[in-house]
Each structure stands twice: as C-alpha cells, then as structure tokens.
C-alpha cells in the first residue's frame, strides 16, 4: 500500500509527459511519411525531407528562413548594445527615476503581445514609418531590449561599486570607464541577454505578423508557416520535416544548455566548499 502510494505520483508524471510529447513525437514519425495525411503509402521515406530542397515553394521557405535569421541577428545586436549601456545608466539613476524607467521597461514584457502588436502598428501608420524591415526591426528591438536589461541588471548588482570610481580616479572619463571597466565585468549578463534577445526574436510570430505589412512580401518562418496553413494549395509536405528539424535543434540546445548549467553549478558548489 505504502509502495503504491509512492508510485502513484510518478505514474501521474509519466502520463502528463506522454500527453505533452505525443504531438511532438507524432510529427517526427510522420515527417518520414512524405505526406500530410498521416498515412504511410510508401512506407518510411525521406521524400518530405528532400521536398525541402526540391519543392516549388522552396524559394519562399528559404527566404523566410533567411529573413528570420537576419531579423533576429540585427535586432538582437541592436538591443544588446542599447540594453547593456542602458542597464548601466538605469542602475545608477536616482531611485525614483530608476523605478519609473524600470516599470516602463517591464511593459513590453508583461503586455499581451496582441496589444503591443496593434499599438505599434497604429503608431507606425500614424507616423508613416516605411513598411517592411524598418518597422520589423524597431518592433523586435522594442520587445527584446527589456530582456537584455533584465539580464544585465543582476550582474551590475553583484559588481564592486568601487571599481568604477577607481577608474575615474585613475583618469578614465565616464565613457572609457564604461567600456573598459563596467561592460567587461557584466559580460556574462550581456551574453545571456543577447542569447535571450536572439531567441525571443526568432520565436516571435504575433508582432511580426501584424507589423510586416501585407504588401512588402517579407515573411519570417513563423508568418510563412501561418500563411501556408491557410493556403489553397494545401499544407506543403516539407512542413512536418521542417518541424522535426526545429524540434531537434531546440531539444539539443535546451538539453546542452542545461547540462552546461548543471556542470557549472556543480563545480561552483564543490569549489566553494
């Protein structure tokens, strides 16, 4: 009886995991069917995968992939630069001003994406921003930068405040002290902030979909995927293979990332003792 009771929660965990992973495994299995109607007319085949390179719409697929990466790279670089410098600034503002700026900085994070998307769209239309890349990059930088700031801030709190003063005493001007002293010290926060900005931009659908403009023809992977769920010619055979590749990449990165994190924490713990 006691044993059954202790096993029960584990069975529950496994059941939830099964439900959670069924769709993912399902998609991976059917990515080898070469069809989108969940049958295996030709048995296990790599046709779906080769369709990625041979299908008539492969141009659109690769363009959207290229756009996704360019957008994520450009916006994460810009938001990392803005975010890192601003985090230093915000950290040293007067407490009242700092609290206010931090609250506004939270807005893009807490706000629901659809409200942010339509508010930006209305703003871009009102002030006649050129549709396309300009709008997309501004929108992405707007929702990525707050995450960079939030990731740099804790590093600043850990920093010895005297180091900056020492740099000034030794003759550095504030800008030089920023780039030669503060920025290198908070580098780990900047790097994780940049990674975060890149991922969030890569992952975005709603804000891109609403701000890309219908006439520009710019599509990212997610907006192209969305439009192809509605396309008259049907859901292309390469999508389940593409999903599988995306899932594989994500799983690898998350698992490796967590493994590295655990290892680091472990060595830190044993090093401290």
């Amino acid at each position: 009886m006691v044993k059954f009771k202790s096993i029960l929660p584990k069975i529950f965990l496994i059941l939830v995991l099964i439900v959670l992973y069924t769709p993912i495994i399902f998609v991976i299995v059917y990515s080898f069917s070469g069809t989108t109607n969940f049958t295996f007319p030709r048995g296990f085949t790599l046709e779906g995968y080769s369709a990625i390179f041979t299908s008539g719409s492969r141009g659109k697929l690769f363009d959207s992939l290229k756009n996704t990466i360019i957008l994520a790279l450009v916006s994460s670089v810009i938001s990392t630069i803005i975010g890192s410098i601003s985090a230093v600034g915000i950290y040293y503002m007067k407490p009242k001003v700092r609290l206010m700026v931090e609250n506004v900085n939270q807005l893009p994070i807490i706000n629901s994406e659809i409200v942010m998307a339509v508010s930006l769209m209305l703003f871009f239309v009102t002030f006649k921003f050129p549709p396309g890349w300009t709008r997309l990059i501004i929108a992405h930088v707007t929702f990525c930068t707050p995450y960079v700031i939030l990731s740099v801030m804790p590093r600043l709190m850990q920093m010895d405040p005297n180091v900056y003063e020492a740099a000034l005493d030794l003759g550095a001007n504030p800008i030089k002290a920023l780039f030669k002293v503060i920025i290198p010290m908070v580098m780990p926060g900047i790097i994780s902030g940049a990674a975060m900005a890149f991922t969030i931009s890569l992952d975005d659908f709603i804000i891109t979909q609403i701000n890309k403009g219908a006439t520009t023809g710019i599509d990212t992977l997610s907006t192209y995927l969305y439009s192809s769920t509605k396309s008259a010619s049907g859901f292309a055979a390469y999508w389940y293979p593409v999903f599988s590749i995306i899932i594989l990449i994500v799983v690898t990165i998350v698992l490796v990332g967590n493994y590295v994190k655990f290892r680091r924490e472990k060595t830190k713990k044993s090093g401290g003792k």
Binding site: P9, V101, V118, S119, F123, N173
Partner: protein, 268 residues
Amino acid sequence: MKTNPLKKVSQKIKNFRLTRGVFAWPYVLFLTVFVVLPLVIILVNAFLADGKLSFANFIALAKDGASIKVLINSIFIGAVTTILCLAIGYPVAYTLANMKTGSIIVILFLLPMWVNFLVRTLAARAVFEALSIPLGEGTVLFGMVYNYIPFMILPLHTTLTNIDKSFGEAAADLGADRVTVFLKVTLPLSVPGIISGIIMVFIPTISTFAISQLLGGVHLFGDSIHEKFIHGLYGVGSVMSLIMLAFVLLSNMLLKKFNKGEAKASIW
C-alpha cells in the same frame, strides 16, 4: 508609470553632467517613443470617433453583441484552461519538488515551451486530424492547456522547491499529518507561485492569436482585436486593446502584491 518621462528628460538637460545615469537617456527616449507613445495612441484612438473626443467607441463595442460574446467566451476558455493547468500542474510541480532528481526532470516538462507555439499548435492539430477527432471547443481547450502548462509548472516548481523543508518538518513534529502539513504549510507558502502561474496562463490564453483559430475555428479576444484593426475599425479595436491592457496591468499589480521581494520565476 503615467508621468511623462519627456518632461523629466527636459528638466535634466538644464543641469547636465555626464553621470552614469545619462547612459540610459537614449533608451528612455526610445521607450517613450516606441512603448509609451503607441499606448497613448491606443488611448487617444479609443476616445476618438469621427475626429471628436467621445465615448462613441465604447458604446459601439457595448452594442456589438458578437465582440462581447467573444470576450465572455475568451474569459470562460481562459478560466477553464487556467483551472486545468493548475489542476494538472500543481501535482506535477509538487511531486517534482519532493523528488531528488526533480530539478532535472522538470526540464522535460518545460522543454516544449521552447518550441515555437505555432509548431506546437500544428503538431497538436496533426494528432487530432490523424485520429479524426473533430475540431471544436474541446480541441481548443486541449491546445491551450498543452501550450500553456509549462508556464504554470515553471513558477510553481520554483516556489515549491524554494520552500524551506524545515517548516513542514516542524509542523510534522508538532503532530500534523501529511494532509495538514500540505494544507497549512505548503499550500499557503506556494500562493505566490500559484498567482504567477495563473497570470502566466490566463493572460496569454484570453489574448491568444491564431491558436484557437487553428485548433477549432474558435475566435478569442486576441483574434477579434486583430480583426477590428484589419477592418480599419481602429476606434473599437483600441477600446478592446484597452480592456486587454487593463487585464494585464491589474494582474501585474496582483503579482507584485503577492511576490513582494521574492525572486520572480524566470524562464531563464
């Protein structure tokens, strides 16, 4: 949050000194232009009808039976999704918090969160199609729970693992049985995690865009906001965005009240 940062900036220009705070000024300007101003434009548009300030858009929305129905239905679906996520997520987080390997296994529960939500949604739809389960409210609910449950498990797991085990041990030493320990110690101490989880599931669910459409042709509030803007009904769309924004700000206030000083659950 309402005070105009521009005014503050112009005041500062008068007595300029290159302190470190100055490094944030470009970003303050950026935030003002690209975060605050767009929301102000939404606010103005909500009260602007035919070039005049009025409540016409609010009245139009109140009379728009279809939109009100969508709002009520969204709140209903949001509530059911949240309850289901909590009912499934809490036991999961609780069990994991009491397992030695819990902090490793939890990664398995959070992993799907990293896959793009459109991919997850279409994967769920693929299962329904293959099993010829008709798409409708039921499949929408499944999709919502499936998509958002990691956001419930994450804050719950963080809070539950951070509860000092000695509280429970002390209660047990004083004669409380396991149920009492849970009800009187663990549950009350996990309230901040419950609140974060509820908010992290409820807000995205009601404002969701595309998930419900793809999983059952059901329109939720996010979809109808989008639709209004697509059809050029900026006024009514803005009123609806304001309603959504009110939900967001209210829940954020609630969150701050319950999470005073506590380390917030972080996806990272």
